[in-house]
Symmetry: D2
Subunit: 149 residues, 4 copies
Protein backbone atom coordinates (compact mmCIF):
# COMPACT_ATOMS: atom_id res chain seq x y z
CA UNK A 1 0.00 0.00 0.00
CA UNK A 2 3.01 2.28 0.37
CA UNK A 3 4.93 3.72 -2.53
CA UNK A 4 8.60 3.01 -2.05
CA UNK A 5 9.57 6.66 -1.75
CA UNK A 6 6.52 8.20 -0.03
CA UNK A 7 5.01 8.02 3.44
CA UNK A 8 2.98 5.03 4.63
CA UNK A 9 -0.44 5.30 2.95
CA UNK A 10 -3.73 3.51 3.53
CA UNK A 11 -6.76 3.67 1.25
CA UNK A 12 -10.38 3.96 2.38
CA UNK A 13 -13.62 4.45 0.48
CA UNK A 14 -16.27 6.96 1.65
CA UNK A 15 -19.62 5.19 2.23
CA UNK A 16 -23.03 6.52 3.29
CA UNK A 17 -22.13 5.80 6.93
CA UNK A 18 -19.37 8.44 6.74
CA UNK A 19 -21.43 11.30 5.29
CA UNK A 20 -23.84 13.66 7.01
CA UNK A 21 -26.87 15.67 5.95
CA UNK A 22 -24.62 18.37 4.51
CA UNK A 23 -23.62 15.86 1.80
CA UNK A 24 -20.01 15.62 2.98
CA UNK A 25 -18.02 13.46 5.39
CA UNK A 26 -18.97 14.24 9.00
CA UNK A 27 -16.06 15.95 10.78
CA UNK A 28 -15.70 13.28 13.49
CA UNK A 29 -15.48 10.49 10.94
CA UNK A 30 -12.12 11.63 9.55
CA UNK A 31 -10.73 10.56 12.92
CA UNK A 32 -11.83 7.01 12.07
CA UNK A 33 -9.95 7.13 8.77
CA UNK A 34 -6.88 8.51 10.55
CA UNK A 35 -6.98 5.67 13.05
CA UNK A 36 -7.37 2.97 10.42
CA UNK A 37 -4.16 4.27 8.84
CA UNK A 38 -2.30 4.26 12.18
CA UNK A 39 -3.54 0.72 12.87
CA UNK A 40 -2.34 -0.48 9.46
CA UNK A 41 0.95 1.39 9.89
CA UNK A 42 1.48 -0.60 13.10
CA UNK A 43 0.39 -3.80 11.35
CA UNK A 44 3.00 -3.11 8.64
CA UNK A 45 5.58 -3.77 11.39
CA UNK A 46 3.83 -7.01 12.28
CA UNK A 47 1.87 -5.74 15.30
CA UNK A 48 -1.87 -6.21 15.79
CA UNK A 49 -3.44 -4.02 18.49
CA UNK A 50 -5.73 -6.85 19.54
CA UNK A 51 -2.70 -9.08 20.10
CA UNK A 52 -0.76 -6.35 21.95
CA UNK A 53 -3.75 -5.87 24.27
CA UNK A 54 -4.25 -9.58 24.96
CA UNK A 55 -0.61 -10.65 25.16
CA UNK A 56 1.17 -7.53 26.38
CA UNK A 57 -1.65 -5.87 28.31
CA UNK A 58 -1.54 -2.41 26.77
CA UNK A 59 -3.42 -0.27 24.29
CA UNK A 60 -2.72 3.02 22.58
CA UNK A 61 -5.00 5.97 23.38
CA UNK A 62 -5.02 9.40 21.80
CA UNK A 63 -3.59 12.08 24.12
CA UNK A 64 -4.20 15.11 21.94
CA UNK A 65 -4.74 16.11 18.33
CA UNK A 66 -5.10 19.02 15.96
CA UNK A 67 -7.03 18.76 12.71
CA UNK A 68 -7.25 21.18 9.79
CA UNK A 69 -10.23 20.58 7.51
CA UNK A 70 -9.20 22.04 4.16
CA UNK A 71 -11.65 20.53 1.64
CA UNK A 72 -14.61 18.21 2.16
CA UNK A 73 -14.66 14.53 1.15
CA UNK A 74 -17.81 13.20 -0.52
CA UNK A 75 -19.65 9.94 -1.00
CA UNK A 76 -17.68 7.39 -3.08
CA UNK A 77 -14.41 9.31 -2.81
CA UNK A 78 -11.36 7.09 -2.51
CA UNK A 79 -9.25 8.55 0.27
CA UNK A 80 -5.52 8.08 0.66
CA UNK A 81 -4.45 8.54 4.27
CA UNK A 82 -0.79 9.00 5.17
CA UNK A 83 0.84 8.23 8.47
CA UNK A 84 4.30 9.40 9.54
CA UNK A 85 5.69 8.89 13.07
CA UNK A 86 7.53 12.13 13.79
CA UNK A 87 8.82 11.20 17.22
CA UNK A 88 8.58 8.06 19.26
CA UNK A 89 9.24 8.17 22.98
CA UNK A 90 9.08 5.28 25.43
CA UNK A 91 5.39 5.84 26.22
CA UNK A 92 4.02 7.87 23.30
CA UNK A 93 4.22 8.41 19.53
CA UNK A 94 3.57 11.63 17.63
CA UNK A 95 2.02 11.19 14.18
CA UNK A 96 1.64 13.60 11.27
CA UNK A 97 -1.21 12.46 9.02
CA UNK A 98 -2.89 13.70 5.87
CA UNK A 99 -6.03 12.69 4.02
CA UNK A 100 -6.05 13.05 0.23
CA UNK A 101 -8.78 12.49 -2.36
CA UNK A 102 -7.29 10.02 -4.79
CA UNK A 103 -3.62 9.33 -5.38
CA UNK A 104 -0.93 11.51 -3.82
CA UNK A 105 1.35 13.17 -6.34
CA UNK A 106 3.56 14.74 -3.71
CA UNK A 107 2.94 14.74 0.05
CA UNK A 108 2.47 18.49 -0.14
CA UNK A 109 0.37 20.83 2.08
CA UNK A 110 -0.51 22.89 -1.01
CA UNK A 111 -1.80 19.96 -3.07
CA UNK A 112 -5.23 20.48 -4.60
CA UNK A 113 -6.45 17.09 -3.39
CA UNK A 114 -5.31 17.47 0.23
CA UNK A 115 -8.49 17.37 2.35
CA UNK A 116 -7.36 17.07 5.95
CA UNK A 117 -4.13 17.58 7.86
CA UNK A 118 -3.70 16.26 11.40
CA UNK A 119 -1.19 15.92 14.24
CA UNK A 120 -2.01 13.10 16.64
CA UNK A 121 -0.17 12.08 19.80
CA UNK A 122 -0.98 8.62 21.12
CA UNK A 123 0.11 7.23 24.46
CA UNK A 124 0.71 3.68 25.60
CA UNK A 125 -1.53 2.81 28.58
CA UNK A 126 -2.01 -0.28 30.69
CA UNK A 127 -5.25 -2.17 29.96
CA UNK A 128 -5.96 -2.68 33.65
CA UNK A 129 -5.82 0.87 34.98
CA UNK A 130 -5.48 3.00 31.83
CA UNK A 131 -2.30 4.58 33.25
CA UNK A 132 0.65 5.53 31.01
CA UNK A 133 3.29 2.87 30.67
CA UNK A 134 6.50 2.25 28.72
CA UNK A 135 6.18 0.32 25.47
CA UNK A 136 8.03 -3.02 25.44
CA UNK A 137 11.54 -2.92 23.99
CA UNK A 138 10.73 -5.11 20.98
CA UNK A 139 8.20 -2.51 19.89
CA UNK A 140 10.38 0.51 20.66
CA UNK A 141 13.27 -1.02 18.73
CA UNK A 142 11.19 -1.59 15.64
CA UNK A 143 9.47 1.80 15.74
CA UNK A 144 12.62 3.80 16.51
CA UNK A 145 14.23 2.36 13.39
CA UNK A 146 11.56 4.33 11.50
CA UNK A 147 11.84 7.46 13.64
CA UNK A 148 12.21 10.67 11.69
CA UNK A 149 13.44 13.13 14.29
CA UNK B 1 -40.32 10.37 30.70
CA UNK B 2 -43.21 7.91 30.56
CA UNK B 3 -46.83 8.94 30.37
CA UNK B 4 -48.76 7.10 33.06
CA UNK B 5 -50.90 5.14 30.64
CA UNK B 6 -48.56 4.59 27.70
CA UNK B 7 -45.42 2.52 27.08
CA UNK B 8 -42.00 3.49 28.41
CA UNK B 9 -40.75 6.33 26.19
CA UNK B 10 -37.37 7.99 25.83
CA UNK B 11 -36.68 11.19 23.88
CA UNK B 12 -33.68 11.83 21.61
CA UNK B 13 -32.78 14.69 19.31
CA UNK B 14 -31.44 14.09 15.78
CA UNK B 15 -28.02 15.74 15.34
CA UNK B 16 -25.68 15.97 12.33
CA UNK B 17 -23.89 12.83 13.53
CA UNK B 18 -27.10 10.82 12.92
CA UNK B 19 -27.82 11.97 9.37
CA UNK B 20 -26.28 10.85 6.09
CA UNK B 21 -25.72 12.39 2.69
CA UNK B 22 -29.33 11.65 1.73
CA UNK B 23 -30.40 14.25 4.28
CA UNK B 24 -32.09 11.72 6.57
CA UNK B 25 -31.07 9.59 9.54
CA UNK B 26 -28.72 6.78 8.45
CA UNK B 27 -30.47 3.40 8.76
CA UNK B 28 -27.97 1.92 11.22
CA UNK B 29 -28.29 4.89 13.57
CA UNK B 30 -31.90 4.10 14.52
CA UNK B 31 -30.42 1.06 16.29
CA UNK B 32 -28.54 3.48 18.53
CA UNK B 33 -31.78 5.28 19.42
CA UNK B 34 -33.48 1.94 20.10
CA UNK B 35 -30.70 0.92 22.43
CA UNK B 36 -30.69 4.19 24.34
CA UNK B 37 -34.39 3.56 25.07
CA UNK B 38 -33.73 -0.02 26.21
CA UNK B 39 -30.88 1.20 28.45
CA UNK B 40 -33.10 3.86 30.02
CA UNK B 41 -35.96 1.36 30.38
CA UNK B 42 -33.58 -0.83 32.41
CA UNK B 43 -32.38 2.19 34.38
CA UNK B 44 -36.03 2.98 35.22
CA UNK B 45 -35.91 -0.24 37.30
CA UNK B 46 -32.73 0.94 38.99
CA UNK B 47 -30.23 -1.05 36.89
CA UNK B 48 -27.18 0.41 35.15
CA UNK B 49 -25.57 -1.84 32.54
CA UNK B 50 -22.12 -0.70 33.57
CA UNK B 51 -22.86 -1.77 37.15
CA UNK B 52 -24.37 -5.12 36.06
CA UNK B 53 -21.23 -5.82 34.01
CA UNK B 54 -18.79 -4.88 36.78
CA UNK B 55 -20.66 -6.35 39.76
CA UNK B 56 -22.62 -9.24 38.24
CA UNK B 57 -20.33 -10.11 35.33
CA UNK B 58 -22.88 -10.08 32.51
CA UNK B 59 -23.99 -7.91 29.62
CA UNK B 60 -26.95 -7.95 27.27
CA UNK B 61 -26.29 -8.56 23.58
CA UNK B 62 -28.73 -8.45 20.70
CA UNK B 63 -29.61 -11.92 19.38
CA UNK B 64 -31.82 -10.89 16.49
CA UNK B 65 -33.96 -8.02 15.27
CA UNK B 66 -36.39 -6.91 12.61
CA UNK B 67 -36.79 -3.27 11.63
CA UNK B 68 -39.43 -1.59 9.45
CA UNK B 69 -38.44 1.82 8.18
CA UNK B 70 -41.71 3.62 7.48
CA UNK B 71 -40.79 7.30 7.26
CA UNK B 72 -37.39 9.04 7.50
CA UNK B 73 -36.29 11.16 10.46
CA UNK B 74 -34.48 14.41 9.72
CA UNK B 75 -32.01 16.79 11.34
CA UNK B 76 -33.37 18.47 14.49
CA UNK B 77 -36.33 16.09 14.81
CA UNK B 78 -37.22 15.21 18.37
CA UNK B 79 -37.73 11.46 18.44
CA UNK B 80 -39.86 9.61 20.96
CA UNK B 81 -38.73 5.98 21.28
CA UNK B 82 -40.93 3.42 23.01
CA UNK B 83 -39.81 0.21 24.68
CA UNK B 84 -42.09 -2.65 25.71
CA UNK B 85 -40.80 -6.01 27.01
CA UNK B 86 -43.14 -8.52 25.39
CA UNK B 87 -41.63 -11.62 26.98
CA UNK B 88 -38.87 -12.12 29.47
CA UNK B 89 -37.24 -15.53 29.87
CA UNK B 90 -34.43 -16.49 32.19
CA UNK B 91 -31.71 -15.63 29.66
CA UNK B 92 -33.37 -13.29 27.16
CA UNK B 93 -35.89 -10.47 26.72
CA UNK B 94 -38.00 -9.72 23.65
CA UNK B 95 -38.72 -6.02 23.04
CA UNK B 96 -41.20 -4.27 20.79
CA UNK B 97 -40.03 -0.76 20.03
CA UNK B 98 -41.23 2.20 17.98
CA UNK B 99 -39.69 5.50 16.97
CA UNK B 100 -42.01 8.49 16.56
CA UNK B 101 -41.35 12.05 15.40
CA UNK B 102 -42.62 14.20 18.24
CA UNK B 103 -45.18 13.26 20.87
CA UNK B 104 -47.12 10.00 20.65
CA UNK B 105 -50.86 10.47 20.52
CA UNK B 106 -51.58 6.75 20.57
CA UNK B 107 -49.01 3.95 20.29
CA UNK B 108 -50.52 3.04 16.95
CA UNK B 109 -48.88 1.38 13.90
CA UNK B 110 -50.97 3.59 11.62
CA UNK B 111 -49.94 6.89 13.25
CA UNK B 112 -48.71 9.53 10.81
CA UNK B 113 -45.63 10.26 12.93
CA UNK B 114 -44.51 6.63 13.36
CA UNK B 115 -41.10 6.38 11.69
CA UNK B 116 -39.69 3.00 12.67
CA UNK B 117 -41.03 -0.22 14.15
CA UNK B 118 -38.70 -2.86 15.57
CA UNK B 119 -38.64 -6.22 17.33
CA UNK B 120 -35.41 -6.85 19.24
CA UNK B 121 -34.42 -9.94 21.22
CA UNK B 122 -31.52 -9.46 23.64
CA UNK B 123 -29.74 -12.24 25.48
CA UNK B 124 -27.87 -12.23 28.75
CA UNK B 125 -24.25 -13.34 28.26
CA UNK B 126 -21.31 -13.81 30.58
CA UNK B 127 -18.65 -11.08 30.26
CA UNK B 128 -15.82 -13.61 30.37
CA UNK B 129 -16.77 -15.97 27.58
CA UNK B 130 -19.80 -14.28 25.94
CA UNK B 131 -21.86 -17.45 26.49
CA UNK B 132 -25.58 -17.27 27.34
CA UNK B 133 -26.37 -17.32 31.03
CA UNK B 134 -29.37 -16.96 33.31
CA UNK B 135 -30.13 -13.48 34.64
CA UNK B 136 -29.88 -13.16 38.44
CA UNK B 137 -33.17 -13.60 40.31
CA UNK B 138 -33.34 -10.01 41.57
CA UNK B 139 -33.40 -8.85 37.96
CA UNK B 140 -35.84 -11.52 36.75
CA UNK B 141 -38.22 -10.72 39.59
CA UNK B 142 -38.31 -7.03 38.81
CA UNK B 143 -38.60 -7.51 35.04
CA UNK B 144 -41.23 -10.25 35.21
CA UNK B 145 -43.48 -7.95 37.22
CA UNK B 146 -43.62 -5.86 34.04
CA UNK B 147 -43.98 -8.82 31.70
CA UNK B 148 -46.81 -8.55 29.21
CA UNK B 149 -47.29 -12.12 28.02
CA UNK C 1 -13.10 -9.82 -4.78
CA UNK C 2 -15.60 -12.52 -5.75
CA UNK C 3 -14.72 -16.15 -6.13
CA UNK C 4 -15.94 -17.33 -9.50
CA UNK C 5 -18.40 -19.84 -8.07
CA UNK C 6 -19.58 -18.15 -4.87
CA UNK C 7 -21.70 -15.12 -4.05
CA UNK C 8 -20.43 -11.55 -4.36
CA UNK C 9 -18.12 -10.97 -1.38
CA UNK C 10 -16.55 -7.83 0.10
CA UNK C 11 -13.85 -7.76 2.76
CA UNK C 12 -13.69 -5.35 5.71
CA UNK C 13 -11.38 -5.14 8.69
CA UNK C 14 -12.73 -4.53 12.22
CA UNK C 15 -11.18 -1.38 13.74
CA UNK C 16 -11.59 0.25 17.17
CA UNK C 17 -14.37 2.44 15.74
CA UNK C 18 -16.50 -0.71 15.21
CA UNK C 19 -16.15 -2.22 18.68
CA UNK C 20 -17.96 -1.33 21.89
CA UNK C 21 -17.16 -1.60 25.59
CA UNK C 22 -18.17 -5.28 25.56
CA UNK C 23 -15.06 -5.94 23.44
CA UNK C 24 -17.05 -6.97 20.36
CA UNK C 25 -18.48 -5.22 17.29
CA UNK C 26 -21.44 -2.99 18.26
CA UNK C 27 -24.66 -4.43 16.87
CA UNK C 28 -25.55 -1.38 14.76
CA UNK C 29 -22.15 -1.38 13.08
CA UNK C 30 -22.76 -4.65 11.22
CA UNK C 31 -25.31 -2.66 9.22
CA UNK C 32 -22.44 -0.49 7.99
CA UNK C 33 -20.53 -3.57 6.82
CA UNK C 34 -23.65 -4.89 5.10
CA UNK C 35 -24.11 -1.63 3.27
CA UNK C 36 -20.51 -1.41 2.14
CA UNK C 37 -20.99 -4.83 0.52
CA UNK C 38 -24.25 -3.74 -1.21
CA UNK C 39 -22.53 -0.56 -2.44
CA UNK C 40 -19.62 -2.54 -3.85
CA UNK C 41 -22.00 -5.11 -5.36
CA UNK C 42 -23.67 -2.24 -7.23
CA UNK C 43 -20.28 -0.83 -8.20
CA UNK C 44 -19.36 -4.25 -9.64
CA UNK C 45 -22.04 -3.51 -12.30
CA UNK C 46 -20.48 -0.11 -12.94
CA UNK C 47 -22.86 2.00 -10.83
CA UNK C 48 -21.79 4.51 -8.19
CA UNK C 49 -24.54 5.66 -5.83
CA UNK C 50 -23.15 9.18 -5.81
CA UNK C 51 -23.41 9.29 -9.61
CA UNK C 52 -26.94 7.78 -9.61
CA UNK C 53 -28.03 10.45 -7.12
CA UNK C 54 -26.49 13.36 -9.03
CA UNK C 55 -27.27 12.26 -12.60
CA UNK C 56 -30.46 10.19 -12.18
CA UNK C 57 -31.90 11.85 -9.07
CA UNK C 58 -32.54 8.77 -6.95
CA UNK C 59 -31.07 6.96 -3.98
CA UNK C 60 -31.66 3.57 -2.40
CA UNK C 61 -33.05 3.48 1.12
CA UNK C 62 -33.60 0.49 3.36
CA UNK C 63 -37.29 -0.45 3.69
CA UNK C 64 -36.93 -3.28 6.19
CA UNK C 65 -34.43 -5.78 7.49
CA UNK C 66 -33.96 -8.79 9.72
CA UNK C 67 -30.63 -9.61 11.32
CA UNK C 68 -29.51 -12.73 13.19
CA UNK C 69 -26.43 -12.23 15.32
CA UNK C 70 -24.87 -15.68 15.66
CA UNK C 71 -21.33 -15.05 16.86
CA UNK C 72 -19.52 -11.80 17.74
CA UNK C 73 -16.80 -10.22 15.61
CA UNK C 74 -13.78 -8.79 17.40
CA UNK C 75 -11.08 -6.18 16.91
CA UNK C 76 -8.75 -6.95 13.95
CA UNK C 77 -11.05 -9.64 12.51
CA UNK C 78 -11.15 -9.69 8.73
CA UNK C 79 -14.79 -9.97 7.76
CA UNK C 80 -16.08 -11.40 4.49
CA UNK C 81 -19.51 -10.00 3.66
CA UNK C 82 -21.66 -11.65 1.00
CA UNK C 83 -24.42 -10.01 -1.00
CA UNK C 84 -26.99 -11.84 -3.11
CA UNK C 85 -29.97 -10.12 -4.77
CA UNK C 86 -32.82 -12.56 -4.27
CA UNK C 87 -35.46 -10.58 -6.10
CA UNK C 88 -35.38 -7.32 -7.99
CA UNK C 89 -38.60 -5.46 -8.74
CA UNK C 90 -38.99 -2.17 -10.54
CA UNK C 91 -38.67 -0.12 -7.34
CA UNK C 92 -36.95 -2.39 -4.84
CA UNK C 93 -34.33 -5.11 -4.36
CA UNK C 94 -34.28 -7.86 -1.73
CA UNK C 95 -30.85 -8.91 -0.54
CA UNK C 96 -29.66 -11.93 1.44
CA UNK C 97 -26.38 -11.14 3.16
CA UNK C 98 -23.97 -12.92 5.46
CA UNK C 99 -20.94 -11.82 7.47
CA UNK C 100 -18.14 -14.36 7.99
CA UNK C 101 -14.92 -14.18 9.99
CA UNK C 102 -12.22 -14.96 7.49
CA UNK C 103 -12.58 -16.81 4.21
CA UNK C 104 -15.82 -18.55 3.28
CA UNK C 105 -15.45 -22.26 2.69
CA UNK C 106 -19.08 -22.73 1.70
CA UNK C 107 -21.84 -20.12 1.95
CA UNK C 108 -23.48 -22.25 4.61
CA UNK C 109 -25.76 -21.19 7.52
CA UNK C 110 -24.12 -23.86 9.71
CA UNK C 111 -20.54 -22.72 9.07
CA UNK C 112 -18.48 -22.17 12.23
CA UNK C 113 -17.26 -18.77 11.04
CA UNK C 114 -20.68 -17.37 10.09
CA UNK C 115 -21.25 -14.38 12.38
CA UNK C 116 -24.32 -12.56 11.03
CA UNK C 117 -27.15 -13.39 8.65
CA UNK C 118 -29.40 -10.66 7.25
CA UNK C 119 -32.28 -10.03 4.87
CA UNK C 120 -32.43 -6.44 3.62
CA UNK C 121 -35.02 -4.87 1.30
CA UNK C 122 -33.98 -1.56 -0.26
CA UNK C 123 -36.26 0.73 -2.20
CA UNK C 124 -35.52 3.25 -4.93
CA UNK C 125 -36.68 6.74 -3.90
CA UNK C 126 -36.58 10.13 -5.57
CA UNK C 127 -33.94 12.49 -4.10
CA UNK C 128 -36.36 15.42 -4.11
CA UNK C 129 -39.29 14.05 -2.16
CA UNK C 130 -38.03 10.66 -0.92
CA UNK C 131 -41.02 8.93 -2.54
CA UNK C 132 -40.70 5.47 -4.15
CA UNK C 133 -39.95 5.49 -7.84
CA UNK C 134 -39.13 3.03 -10.58
CA UNK C 135 -35.46 2.35 -11.28
CA UNK C 136 -34.31 3.38 -14.77
CA UNK C 137 -34.36 0.59 -17.39
CA UNK C 138 -30.59 0.47 -17.86
CA UNK C 139 -30.25 -0.42 -14.19
CA UNK C 140 -33.15 -2.89 -14.14
CA UNK C 141 -31.78 -4.66 -17.20
CA UNK C 142 -28.36 -5.13 -15.68
CA UNK C 143 -29.65 -6.19 -12.27
CA UNK C 144 -32.31 -8.56 -13.59
CA UNK C 145 -29.65 -10.44 -15.51
CA UNK C 146 -28.33 -11.39 -12.07
CA UNK C 147 -31.74 -12.02 -10.53
CA UNK C 148 -32.07 -15.30 -8.72
CA UNK C 149 -35.83 -15.78 -8.42
CA UNK D 1 -29.60 23.66 31.14
CA UNK D 2 -27.22 26.54 31.88
CA UNK D 3 -26.38 27.76 35.34
CA UNK D 4 -26.92 31.50 35.52
CA UNK D 5 -23.29 32.33 36.25
CA UNK D 6 -21.44 29.60 34.31
CA UNK D 7 -20.88 28.82 30.63
CA UNK D 8 -23.57 27.26 28.44
CA UNK D 9 -23.71 23.57 29.36
CA UNK D 10 -25.38 20.57 27.72
CA UNK D 11 -25.75 17.13 29.26
CA UNK D 12 -25.28 13.80 27.47
CA UNK D 13 -25.24 10.22 28.69
CA UNK D 14 -22.59 7.73 27.50
CA UNK D 15 -24.21 4.69 25.84
CA UNK D 16 -22.73 1.50 24.37
CA UNK D 17 -22.64 3.20 20.95
CA UNK D 18 -20.05 5.68 22.28
CA UNK D 19 -17.62 3.21 23.82
CA UNK D 20 -14.97 1.07 22.16
CA UNK D 21 -13.28 -2.24 22.92
CA UNK D 22 -10.93 -0.51 25.36
CA UNK D 23 -13.95 0.06 27.62
CA UNK D 24 -13.88 3.85 27.25
CA UNK D 25 -15.44 6.42 24.92
CA UNK D 26 -13.90 6.20 21.44
CA UNK D 27 -11.82 9.32 20.73
CA UNK D 28 -13.81 10.41 17.67
CA UNK D 29 -17.10 10.24 19.57
CA UNK D 30 -16.24 13.17 21.85
CA UNK D 31 -16.55 15.29 18.71
CA UNK D 32 -20.20 14.25 18.54
CA UNK D 33 -20.78 15.39 22.13
CA UNK D 34 -19.01 18.68 21.38
CA UNK D 35 -21.24 19.28 18.39
CA UNK D 36 -24.44 18.49 20.24
CA UNK D 37 -23.49 21.22 22.72
CA UNK D 38 -22.74 23.74 19.94
CA UNK D 39 -26.06 22.88 18.27
CA UNK D 40 -27.96 23.40 21.52
CA UNK D 41 -26.01 26.61 22.23
CA UNK D 42 -27.26 27.92 18.87
CA UNK D 43 -30.76 26.68 19.62
CA UNK D 44 -30.66 28.63 22.92
CA UNK D 45 -30.66 31.77 20.70
CA UNK D 46 -33.65 30.42 18.78
CA UNK D 47 -31.78 29.05 15.76
CA UNK D 48 -32.16 25.53 14.37
CA UNK D 49 -29.46 24.45 11.91
CA UNK D 50 -32.00 22.60 9.82
CA UNK D 51 -34.03 25.81 9.49
CA UNK D 52 -30.94 27.92 8.72
CA UNK D 53 -29.99 25.46 5.96
CA UNK D 54 -33.46 25.33 4.41
CA UNK D 55 -34.44 29.01 4.77
CA UNK D 56 -31.08 30.81 4.67
CA UNK D 57 -29.09 28.35 2.56
CA UNK D 58 -26.06 27.94 4.77
CA UNK D 59 -24.53 25.45 7.18
CA UNK D 60 -21.68 25.60 9.67
CA UNK D 61 -18.68 23.36 9.04
CA UNK D 62 -15.66 22.80 11.25
CA UNK D 63 -12.53 24.54 9.92
CA UNK D 64 -10.07 23.29 12.51
CA UNK D 65 -9.88 21.95 16.02
CA UNK D 66 -7.56 20.94 18.82
CA UNK D 67 -8.53 18.38 21.43
CA UNK D 68 -6.82 17.41 24.69
CA UNK D 69 -7.93 14.05 26.08
CA UNK D 70 -7.22 14.27 29.83
CA UNK D 71 -9.27 11.44 31.36
CA UNK D 72 -11.48 8.79 29.74
CA UNK D 73 -15.28 8.75 29.93
CA UNK D 74 -16.99 5.40 30.53
CA UNK D 75 -20.31 3.70 29.92
CA UNK D 76 -23.20 5.33 31.79
CA UNK D 77 -21.25 8.49 32.66
CA UNK D 78 -23.30 11.65 32.55
CA UNK D 79 -21.24 14.20 30.67
CA UNK D 80 -21.57 17.96 31.02
CA UNK D 81 -20.32 19.74 27.90
CA UNK D 82 -19.63 23.45 27.94
CA UNK D 83 -19.64 25.80 24.98
CA UNK D 84 -18.23 29.34 24.96
CA UNK D 85 -17.95 31.46 21.80
CA UNK D 86 -14.60 33.20 22.18
CA UNK D 87 -14.75 35.24 19.00
CA UNK D 88 -17.34 35.62 16.35
CA UNK D 89 -16.42 37.06 12.96
CA UNK D 90 -18.69 37.59 9.98
CA UNK D 91 -18.04 34.11 8.56
CA UNK D 92 -16.73 32.05 11.48
CA UNK D 93 -17.00 31.40 15.21
CA UNK D 94 -14.28 30.16 17.56
CA UNK D 95 -15.48 27.97 20.43
CA UNK D 96 -13.79 26.84 23.63
CA UNK D 97 -15.41 23.66 24.90
CA UNK D 98 -14.91 21.28 27.80
CA UNK D 99 -16.34 17.89 28.67
CA UNK D 100 -16.81 17.06 32.36
CA UNK D 101 -17.95 13.88 34.10
CA UNK D 102 -20.90 14.98 36.20
CA UNK D 103 -21.64 18.49 37.46
CA UNK D 104 -19.15 21.30 37.01
CA UNK D 105 -18.06 22.91 40.24
CA UNK D 106 -15.92 25.51 38.53
CA UNK D 107 -15.10 25.69 34.83
CA UNK D 108 -11.48 24.98 35.71
CA UNK D 109 -8.75 23.26 33.61
CA UNK D 110 -7.43 21.63 36.80
CA UNK D 111 -10.75 20.11 37.87
CA UNK D 112 -10.60 16.40 38.69
CA UNK D 113 -13.67 15.66 36.58
CA UNK D 114 -12.50 17.51 33.45
CA UNK D 115 -12.17 14.87 30.71
CA UNK D 116 -11.68 16.74 27.46
CA UNK D 117 -10.72 20.26 26.44
CA UNK D 118 -11.23 21.50 22.90
CA UNK D 119 -10.91 24.56 20.66
CA UNK D 120 -13.15 24.43 17.59
CA UNK D 121 -13.42 26.96 14.78
CA UNK D 122 -16.53 26.65 12.61
CA UNK D 123 -17.12 28.51 9.38
CA UNK D 124 -20.34 29.53 7.68
CA UNK D 125 -20.55 28.02 4.17
CA UNK D 126 -23.12 28.17 1.40
CA UNK D 127 -25.17 24.96 1.00
CA UNK D 128 -24.85 25.08 -2.79
CA UNK D 129 -21.10 25.28 -3.28
CA UNK D 130 -19.72 24.84 0.26
CA UNK D 131 -17.83 28.14 -0.09
CA UNK D 132 -17.36 30.50 2.89
CA UNK D 133 -19.99 33.17 3.22
CA UNK D 134 -20.98 35.92 5.65
CA UNK D 135 -23.59 35.05 8.25
CA UNK D 136 -26.82 37.05 7.98
CA UNK D 137 -27.00 40.17 10.16
CA UNK D 138 -29.79 38.88 12.39
CA UNK D 139 -27.53 36.01 13.42
CA UNK D 140 -24.39 38.14 13.80
CA UNK D 141 -26.25 40.64 15.95
CA UNK D 142 -27.50 37.99 18.33
CA UNK D 143 -24.21 36.13 18.54
CA UNK D 144 -22.04 39.23 18.93
CA UNK D 145 -24.09 40.26 21.96
CA UNK D 146 -22.58 37.16 23.59
CA UNK D 147 -19.09 37.68 22.21
CA UNK D 148 -16.35 37.47 24.78
CA UNK D 149 -13.39 39.10 23.03
Amino acid sequence: MTASSGPFTWKARVYWEDTDGGGIVYYANYLKFLERARTEWLRSFGFSQDQLAREQGFVFTVVNLTVDYKRPAKLDDELHITCVAHTCRSASIRFAQRVYRGPIVMDDPAAENLLVEAQVRVGCVDCKDMRPRRMPDFLLNVLSSKELS
